[in-house]
């Protein structure tokens, strides 16, 4: 695991290293299998179009998984992650790149609160109002 972030140096406004993934259809099929979420809007264009989508879209939880990678990777320890919350605010399709971005909102003793979001290439927020609480 990457070294733990140095708590004594963490300050509000510090940015987390970004995590970016270009999403391929295969990623969504792999995520469906790994997670057990086989909703066909994530792998079948015909079904997705029939419910008014442009085509298949990524699982919201796939995007959240990538954002959580950023948070846990920065903390250096999955056990440090005490809370994660997001709002799913836009969809993202295969071929697009999702970028997770975050910053330290508050430091209270060993407790650190992080604000984060994930956006597509146009800057539209796929995940918004992301909040993480870490015990470092």
């Amino acid at each position: 695991m990457s070294p733990h972030v140095d708590l004594t140096r963490v300050r509000p406004g510090d940015t987390l290293p970004e995590v970016a993934e270009t999403i391929e259809r295969l990623d969504l099929i792999r995520y469906a299998g790994a997670s057990g979420d086989f909703n066909p809007i994530h792998w079948n264009d015909e079904v997705a179009k029939a419910v008014g989508l442009p085509g298949v879209i990524a699982h919201g939880m796939y995007s959240m998984g990538i954002a959580a990678r950023m948070v846990a990777g920065w903390a250096g320890d999955p056990a440090a992650v005490k809370r994660l919350k997001v709002r799913f605010s836009a969809m993202i399709e295969p071929g697009q790149t999702l970028t997770a971005k975050g910053e330290v909102a508050e430091v209270d003793g060993t407790r650190v609160r992080v604000r984060f979001h994930a956006e597509d290439e146009k800057g539209e927020r796929v995940l918004s109002k992301g909040e993480a609480e870490l015990e470092l």
Binding site: M1, S2, E21, D27, R30, Y31, G33, A34, S35, G36, D37, V51, G60, M61, Y62, M64, G65, I66, A68, R69, V71, A72, G73, D77, P78, A79, V81, K82, R83, L84, K85, V86, R87, F88
Partner: protein
């Protein structure tokens, strides 16, 4: 059909889940997580974990299974084809680890109208079989267009 708000507070029977190492690795790979702590037992132990830890969002696998029990209740009146995932929250009491034998019990935490739509919050308590708290998961779903009409006589 509107959601049955009388079910707010109802807890459903827990589902059992035995956490396997290969499943944790498979899930980590699926979100692009390559850190050895999630894949290699020696690396996990060196980092202080008794066995491979799950990536934080793995808990959704258990909450989805608990959710199937809740959403399958015909009394709830949920049409899953109208559902959009609105928000997701995890509160971690400790990481999920390989070898854990877990229980996941779903509860209808909220069901309310929001304009023409309805909000349904599923809360899942994940514990060990011995009752140790592991994770509390809240998923807020938007049920599109199912709110009861605010005017007129139709129910």
């Amino acid at each position: 059909m509107p959601l049955n708000q009388a079910l707010v507070g109802r807890t459903y029977p827990a589902v059992r889940y035995e956490v396997g190492r290969e499943k944790l690795r498979e899930f980590a790979i699926a979100i692009g997580e390559t850190d050895p702590v999630y894949h290699d037992e020696a690396a996990a132990r060196a980092a202080g974990h008794p066995d491979l830890p799950a990536v934080p969002t793995f808990a959704v696998v258990l909450s989805m299974r608990a959710g199937q029990v809740v959403y399958g209740d015909p009394d709830l009146g949920l049409d899953y084809s109208r559902v959009v995932h609105g928000e997701q929250e995890f509160v971690y009491h400790r990481p999920i680890r390989a070898g854990d034998r877990l229980l996941a019990a779903g509860k209808v935490a909220e069901a309310s109208a929001k304009g023409r739509h309805e909000l349904l919050t599923l809360q899942t308590e994940i514990t060990t079989e011995a009752g140790e708290p592991v994770c509390t998961v809240r998923a807020t779903l938007l049920s599109r267009g199912t709110a009861p009409p605010r005017h007129g006589s139709g129910a």
